[in-house]
């Protein structure tokens, strides 16, 4: 059998792929996900947002909800799925795509696979927890559920800026908050470009 490490299928980059360009319908849905991430930031949550798209319609909105719910497993993906299932049966997820600002974590990647999501588009990669190429590649590993395709890099900088704006804040809810008074928001990227002040 293949070990999880040897069967990695890296997420396809958007760069140079006109089919999923940022000015396409994919861009529109990702902007909606970014707005959810913005809402999360305003609510003091880790700014990750997502939308579920079924037949070109948004059928579920999600944002990270771990602080309010005091439950570390309440990630945006679960919130969006819960909303969708109020109006659609679970089987509809097989014809539904997810747009999420940050690569799904290992937990969410497994959940999406169990739910048989059709396709996942994400903004920035998650090299700490990512389950679709960041750390593990559950989307392509063989399991009792079929694999699903993943595309990353759509509005990547905007997703990263949301996270940076969050992480320069102090986490008052943590048992031992770290003082971060002197931090400045980094607006530069490795490719030398700089973030525009109004990303959306």
């Amino acid at each position: 059998m293949q070990t999880p490490e040897t069967s990695q299928m890296p997420a396809v980059e958007f760069t140079g792929n006109p089919a999923v360009a940022e000015d396409s319908r994919h861009g529109y849905f990702m902007r909606q996900a970014l707005l959810m991430g913005e809402k999360a930031l305003q609510s003091g949550e880790t700014p990750v947002g997502c939308v579920l798209v079924h037949n070109d319609q948004i059928v579920g909105y999600g944002m990270n909800d771990t602080n309010r719910s005091m439950n570390g497993t309440r990630h945006a993906e679960f919130i969006a799925i819960a909303e969708m299932l109020q109006s659609y049966p679970r089987s509809a997820l097989q014809h539904t795509d997810l747009y999420v600002t940050v690569e799904p974590c290992v937990m969410c990647a497994s959940a999406l696979k169990q739910y048989r999501i059709r396709c996942v588009y994400f903004g920035c990669a998650n090299d700490r927890f990512g389950g679709t190429g960041g750390v593990l590649s559950l989307h392509s590993d063989s399991s009792i559920d079929p694999p699903f395709p993943v595309y990353g890099g759509l509005f990547e900088k905007e997703a990263i800026m949301l996270l940076r704006r969050f992480y320069i804040q102090e986490n008052e809810k943590a048992p031992n908050p770290r003082p971060k008074k002197n931090r400045e928001l980094n607006t530069k990227f490795e490719d030398g470009s700089e973030e525009a002040s109004t990303p959306l």
Binding site: S69, Q86, Q114, V135, N176
Partner: protein, 543 residues
């Protein structure tokens, strides 16, 4: 049936707790990289290091501190020595030389040659007496640096055997058993202490998990999977109390249980349609459980472990939101459906017993509660969460002061306006204001190996440890890192000669070096596990 009676009648599992190995242990990373070895004058060794380090910066993520910087000719690995001597035979005395390792990131070869040339064994200025020998060399008399390619291991050796093997074949390697290797496996002292604390009562908690599983299955609401959340700090108090009273260590084992949850994957109506449970009223187990059809599986948030972690959160929301207007429910948020989720009788018994005002709770029990924050100890924080108790933090040192006992209802009535009980000191679960945060420092016992989603949910909930019976392994599980092997095999690497075992991924998610959070993982091996190899095949599903 009376729940207390049910609990009292539970027979513990018989067997032993054994640590789950990590994927780093079962598949030690053997990543190798190219490096160069070159011979330099021994008297210039420190200058060589200085020159190399200032010219070629190191990669901070690759400390390579397990590799010797220098090696004398005699301790070079024989294959490398032979290769070197074929190209540059040893110089005769009095030139003393030593071999230096140039490790990745590898610099440009020409730059390296130029940088090291002054330190070459035959470099004239350093050793004036060598000229006659030099003349006898067949090759050029000018200082010459030979760069001999070799391979080096990028990660420290996992044991001395591995270190010896590398030293004999690649380059001299140092094995440091005291080096922090928490990325490989839990530090042994932390693992052993946790195992000792878990061992006495694990059989009871897993028995309870199976009882909860049975309840879930018999209700038709879910598959037969159960989870039990235990506070090891309360366990410690139980142990201390048992030594004082002379009672058995496992007496009152259930006092340390904070919450239990059963699987409920068939209970959710979707799009207003009846749930799988509603489609088959009164039928148990639910007919959907005889096979694995994705549409009927609810979702992982309905799995036992996720629900159990959710119950702790739910309890905290209910108890911390008193008097906190900002925490009121936002009806548009589907999350709040969770708060109205129905609990089974075992679930609500464990979550809400000793709750102030709970009808079946007597004042005597309230005052006796073993989990009073005053006595709570945190000597064994999550190994990865660092120092969790800071005495200078006023919010935490509040834990040291005795809590106000809940006033009996009769006295509240006569002593003026009723005092809202904001800090339920009598509860086992710590509120946020008491320092309770997610499932930090708690243990979770599951009747089956949790699926990948729940295994990661366990980490994100910051559990200290996860324990499941070996018999509950599932090919969809996220924790095992290898097939079941004979307990005698320890250092020996399990080769791929395991016959007839299920094809599955072994993720060992509880302790992966790549992930930010880690938990201790244990399997419970029952005494009769050997005999029941031919269990009827159950459908594979996600627990």
């Amino acid at each position: 049936m009376d729940i207390r009676e049910t609990i009292r009648g539970l027979q513990p599992l018989y067997g032993k707790v054994t640590p789950l190995r990590t994927v780093q242990e079962t598949r030690p990373p053997e990543d190798f990289a190219d490096a160069y070895v070159t011979e330099v004058n021994v008297k210039t060794a420190s200058k060589v290091i200085k020159a190399l380090d200032s010219a070629f910066p190191k990669d901070p993520s690759l400390p390579l501190s397990h590799l010797r910087r220098f090696a004398k000719r005699e301790i070079l690995p024989p294959p490398l020595r032979a290769a070197i001597e074929e190209q540059s035979p040893p110089l005769a005395a009095p030139v003393q030389t030593i071999f230096v390792l140039i490790s990745p990131p590898l610099p440009d070869l020409d730059k390296l040659q130029a940088l090291l040339a002054p330190f070459a064994p035959n470099a004239a200025p350093a050793t004036p007496g060598q000229t006659p020998e030099d003349a006898s060399q067949p090759d050029s008399p000018s200082p010459k640096i030979y760069l001999h390619p070799t391979k080096i291991p990028l990660y420290p050796p996992f044991n001395s055997k591995q270190a010896d093997a590398w030293t004999k074949t690649l380059w001299p390697v140092v094995f440091n058993p005291a080096a922090p290797r928490s990325t490989v496996a839990p530090p042994p002292q932390i693992l052993n202490r946790a195992q000792e604390s878990i061992e006495p009562r694990a059989g009871y908690y897993l028995s309870l998990a199976r009882k909860v599983a049975e309840e879930a299955e018999q209700s038709g609401l879910g598959r037969g999977v159960g989870a039990v959340i235990v506070d090891p700090a309360i366990e410690e108090e139980l142990s201390a109390a048992s030594w004082e009273s002379g009672a058995g260590e496992t007496a009152s084992w259930d006092e340390a249980v904070l919450a239990v949850a059963g699987d409920a994957r068939y209970c959710r109506p979707e799009a207003g349609a009846p749930s799988q449970a509603q489609l088959h009223p009164g039928v148990a187990p639910n007919p959907a459980s005889t096979t694995y059809i994705a549409e009927f599986e609810g979702g992982p948030e309905l799995h036992a472990l996720m629900r159990a972690a959710g119950f702790i959160a739910r309890w905290r929301r209910e108890n911390d939101s008193r008097g906190d207007a900002t925490a009121t429910a936002d009806a548009s948020n589907p999350e709040h459906l969770q708060d109205t989720e129905e609990l089974s009788s075992l679930e609500s018994y464990f979550l809400y017993r000793h709750r102030p005002g709970a009808s079946d709770t007597t004042i005597g029990e309230l005052l006796f509660s073993p989990s009073s924050p005053k006595k709570r100890k945190h000597e064994e924080p999550n190994p990865e969460s660092g120092s969790t108790i800071d005495p200078s933090n006023p919010e935490q040192s509040q834990l040291q002061t005795p809590p106000l006992p809940a006033p009996p209802p009769s006295t509240t009535a006569v002593s003026g306006p009723p005092i809202p009980i904001t800090a339920p000191a009598t509860s086992r679960i710590r509120t946020r204001s008491q320092g309770g945060y997610l499932c930090t420092d708690l243990d979770v016992y599951v009747s089956h190996e949790p699926c990948l989603c729940c295994s990661m949910g366990m980490l994100l909930s910051r559990f200290r440890a996860v324990i499941f019976p070996r018999r509950g392994r599932l090919e969809s599980g996220g924790l095992a890192s290898e097939p079941v092997v004979a307990p005698t095999a320890d250092e020996v690497e399990p080769e791929d000669d395991t016959k007839g075992q299920d094809e599955r991924g072994y993720y060992g998610l509880h302790w992966r070096k790549e992930l930010n959070w880690r938990a201790l993982g244990f399997e419970y091996v029952e005494e009769d596990d050997e005999e029941i190899k031919d269990e009827p095949k159950r459908p594979v599903f996600h627990a």
